[in-house]
Every structure is written in C-alpha cells, then in structure tokens.
C-alpha cells in the first residue's frame, strides 16, 4: 500500500482547519483564507516526499501560507475590506462582534507586521521561529511586534478592558 499519500491525507485533514484559521487572521475573510490554505496544502503536497520523513510538514505548510498571504498582498493594489460577516460564525454569541473588532484592528497593520502578530500571538511561535519563517532577523521580529502591539493598543484599548479574565 501507498502509505505516504495516506499520511498526507491525514495531515491535511488534521491541519487544514488550523491553517484556515491562521489564514483568516492574516487576510480577514474566509474566502481568501480558503484560497491561501489550498495554496499552502498544494505546496506542501508537492514537497511531501521530503517532508514526510520528518515532522516538518506543519512548518512548511505555515511557511507556504504566510508566503502566499504576503505575495497575495503584494499583488493587490487595493486593500481587502475585513467586512463580510462570516456566514459560518458558529461561535458563542458575541464572538462574531469581537472577531470583527479584532480583524479591523489587524487590518491597520502592514502585511508583514500582521504576519508577525498572527504567528507570535495566535500560533504562539517563538521570536526565532517567526524570524525563520519570515526570513528576517529576530531583531526585526521584536521591533515589529512591539510596534504592532502599540498600534493595536491604540485601536483596541477599551475593547480589551471589557474582556472577562478567563484564567
């Protein structure tokens, strides 16, 4: 039997949702998020032979996703509007609004700062991992995330105060 493709199917099944959410935070709408996820999975599949020998497929898929996002942004003159009420908003009441607030805040960032923020605070990658993924220095990641946080603070200030502390 062909075990490697089964492994990829498994990987894609387990990982697509995660990629899609990260993509959503990057681009702000599910439609583009889906496209970015497809690109990332396709690229991962193309390199699967090399990847499947190690546990590096998630990293490759993420790298592809972020690159696809940054390439997508570069290739567009106009900015995406983070509007479109997600038709699939299945979270508890209230989270849709919160999500739109988040997206609107993220949309004030440059694409690369947004990528830093999403990878650092959503994917919980280390500064070194983010630097490797974005092919820049750790200093660059540090300065981008601190600048981005300052900007998000300005945009989000009050919203964050309203948050219940969950833990």
């Amino acid at each position: 039997m062909l075990d490697a493709p089964e492994e990829f199917t498994e990987f894609a099944g387990a990982y697509a949702a995660r990629l899609r959410r990260t993509a959503y935070l990057l681009c702000g709408n599910w439609h583009t998020a889906e496209d970015l996820t497809q690109i990332a999975l396709t690229q991962t599949l193309l390199s699967w032979r090399r990847l499947s020998r190690l546990d590096n497929a998630p990293a490759y898929a993420h790298r592809s996703l972020v690159n696809a996002y940054l390439g997508h942004r570069r290739s567009r003159k106009s900015r995406e509007l983070p509007v479109a009420l997600p038709p699939d908003a299945a979270g508890p009441a209230g989270t849709t609004e919160l999500r739109l607030v988040l997206l609107r805040a993220l949309d004030t960032l440059t694409p690369s700062a947004r990528a830093v923020v999403v990878l650092r605070y959503w994917e919980d990658l280390s500064i070194g991992q983010v630097a490797a993924m974005l092919q820049c220095s750790t200093g660059n990641v540090k300065s981008q995330s601190s600048r981005a946080l300052a900007q998000l603070r300005a945009v989000l200030g009050d919203t964050l105060l309203d948050l219940p502390v969950t833990d």
Partner: protein, 410 residues
C-alpha cells in the same frame, strides 16, 4: 496592553479555542482531500522527479555521464549556480567563484525544476502547476523571456542532448509536452497514462527515447524523433520513480511498496523486483551502482551487474536528496532532519564518511560540473551552503529565501 492580554483577546475573538480546533466549515478540507485523492501517488514522485531534473541538467547539460549531443559546455564554463527561490517566484544567480548572489530574476509562481541548454545560454524553468507555464531565462542577460504556456500542470522537465526539445511532465494529467527551443512553442501533449501521479522522466544518453512513469503500472517510452508514445512496458507495481544507468542500458523504476525493478532498454524485458528499504525515495545512478534512499535514513546500493541490493548504508535521518561528483567517486546525501548534515558516500567502498555540518535543514544537494563544490539548499531556513568536496567542509551559508532546485550555467 501586554502580549498576554492580546493573546487572550485573539483566543476569545476566535471562539476562545486553540488555533485549529474551532468550528470552521469542513468543505475546504473535503475539497483538499479530493485533490489529494486525485494525486494519491504523487508523494512518491517528488524526490524522484528531481532525479529527472538532475539527469536533465547536471548529466545532459554537462555531459558528466557520457551523454551524446553537440558539445555540452566544459566544466570550467559553469560560472553561476542558479537557485530557484520557490516561495519568491525568482531565480538567483550565485557566482561559483565568490559565492555571492546576484540580482534575483523574476520568473513565475513557484519555480521548481529547471534544465539548461547544452550551449548554456538558456535555462528553462517550470513554474509549477498553478500557472501552467515554462519560462526561458537568458544566462547572458539574466532576463526572463515570455512564459511558454503548456497543457495541464507542468512540473518535471528534461532536455534532449542536442538542446532542440524540452519535455515537460505534468502533475495530474499523465501527459508530457514537448517545447521546441528554436521557437519556444509547445507541441501536442503526449499521453503517457497514469493520471494519479506526476510524470517522472529519464532519457537515453543518445537522446532518442524518454521513459516516463506516472504512478500507473507501466513505463511508457516516448520517441523523441516522432514525439509519440510507444507501447507501455507493464511492470505492475504503481511506479513513481525512475532512473537510467549512465550507459543507458537499464532503467530502474521504484514503487512505494519498497521495490526497485530493472528494465532493459534494448529488449523492454522487466527483471525481478529488488527489495529495498521502506518508502524508497530519490535514486541516483552511477556506473555499476544505483543508490536508493529509503527509510529509515539509509541508502541501499544496487549492483547493476547482478541486480542485487547490497548492505544498506546508514546516513542521516530524513535523507532526501543525493548528488554524485563528476568523477563518480562520491555521492553526497542531504539529511533533511538529522543534525543539519550532508553525508558523503564513497562509491568505491559504499561506506559513509563523516557527516558534514551545514546548518539549517538540508533538502537538496547539487555538485558543480567541475566537481569542486556541492551546493546544499535549504528552504526552511532559506539558505544555500557551499561544501568543498576536497576537504568536505562547509563554507558560509548564502541567505536565499525558499531556496530549492539549482542548475549550473556559464
């Protein structure tokens, strides 16, 4: 607002869950799985397709293994290593003498495999799957020409020794498309069957016949004189990888079941399958021996005289690619996930030498036509590391985002 409160805010806004375990619609995953099913056999082909690229570039373009054709450039003529930056859609020339990168050349989306004309003037770059194009790049001006549209989803590439025709293998369609280099126009696609895997190709040294596998239970010969497929050679094992001996007498095909099968190019006779390790990957042919990477971190030498497997040679974990020096004395193995190393194998003794630390995660390895340098590319960290083959020591890595395949040209 500190980092932690923003992190918490993101979690709550996104349903409070961990990334990836939320309530997103599943349709995308299903669609992805659909595509995946169509490509069931692709996985086994990726590395072996690179074999076709290697044969198409290093061997045919530089005549390292006795290819025919009209005057491949001398080894000294190769002054640049062109690196495909797959994530950036560019090709970067690196000066072999100084190891300094030049200005990136914009080609097309996801450049993967490449081949060089025998006169070294043009590199043909496949912009994989999505765009359906092949871009010619002039090595004199380092400028990309007009993309050549081909049918389907091109992925693999090989060139005749006389440089007149480039053949592009599809990813999903089981087709091979010729491109005539005089006009840079694509001809009629040649159907080789097997739509479930990318087409991997090798060519006989005289350039007359291409053998293609694409995950079906057969090997299809293509006549380069007529650009027609001949009668398929039945093998029965879902072949995904192919390699040809330097003398052109035997092709070896591999299947994911862990076997490699010899086929005589003179008679089309299929030999007995030879058992290698699990999940055979990249294959490399040298005179007398075919090397096959397989799990777990081994390279199995197959004697082409007896068609028997020798003792597996232990290399690093995640061995992913191999390149042979022009004198055919050493095979370098890139160990993707094993302490960032490249392992030299002596072809005289079939023993592994001391692993060479190159840093990062080595994924591809290519040896310059003069045999002095092995370039190791690494898409994870985004670098290319030169290794001196005289001393087996690594030089300073050259930073290049998304570095994958490499060809050499004047």
């Amino acid at each position: 607002m500190d980092e932690e409160s923003f992190r918490r805010f993101m979690r709550q806004a996104m349903d409070g869950g961990e990334p990836g375990f939320g309530s997103q619609p599943i349709d995308g995953a299903v669609r992805a799985a659909g595509r995946i099913r169509r490509r069931r056999m692709l996985a086994g082909a990726s590395a072996t397709a690179t074999a076709a690229a290697l044969i198409g570039t290093a061997t045919l373009a530089f005549g390292a293994s006795g290819s025919g054709g009209n005057g491949p450039p001398t080894a000294a003529a190769a002054r640049f290593a062109y690196v495909a930056n797959t994530f950036k859609g560019t090709l970067t020339p690196i000066s072999i003498a100084t190891n300094t990168p030049g200005k990136p050349i914009r080609v097309g989306p996801d450049p993967t495999q490449m081949t060089v004309t025998p006169d070294g003037r043009t590199i043909y770059v496949v912009n994989s799957a999505s765009s359906g194009t092949v871009t010619p790049v002039s090595t004199a001006t380092n400028k990309a020409g007009k993309p050549i549209k081909v049918a389907g989803s091109p992925y693999t590439i090989i060139m005749t020794p006389n440089g007149r025709t480039v053949y592009v293998g599809g990813l999903f369609e089981g087709i091979v498309t010729p491109i005539f280099t005089r006009t840079n126009k694509a001809g009629q696609p040649i159907i080789v069957g097997g739509k479930h895997s990318m087409v991997s190709m090798v060519m006989t040294p005289d350039g007359r016949t291409i053998y293609a596998v694409s995950g079906s239970d057969a090997v299809t010969p293509i006549s380069t004189a007529t650009n027609k497929a001949g009668r398929a050679i039945k093998t029965g094992a879902g072949e995904t990888g192919i390699v040809i001996t330097p003398d052109g007498r035997t092709i070896y095909v591999e299947s994911a079941s862990g076997t490699v099968t010899p086929i005589s190019t003179a008679t089309g006779k299929v030999g007995k399958p030879i058992k290698v390790g699990k999940r055979p990957g990249f294959m490399q042919a040298t005179p007398g021996t075919v090397y096959v990477i397989s799990d777990p971190g081994t390279v199995t030498p197959i004697s082409t005289a007896t068609n028997t497997a020798g003792m597996p040679i232990k290399v690093g974990k995640g061995a992913s690619d191999m390149a042979v020096t022009p004198d055919e004395m050493t095979v370098y193995v890139a160990n993707f996930d094993s302490a960032d190393t490249v392992t030299p194998i002596s072809t005289a003794t079939n023993t592994a030498g001391k692993p060479i630390a190159v840093g990062g995660e080595p994924s591809f390895v290519f040896v310059t036509p003069d045999g002095k340098t092995a370039y190791v590319s690494d898409w994870t960290v985004g670098q290319v590391t030169p290794v001196s083959t005289a001393t087996n020591t690594a030089g300073m890595p050259i930073r290049l985002a998304g570095a994958q395949e490499i060809v050499f040209a004047p």
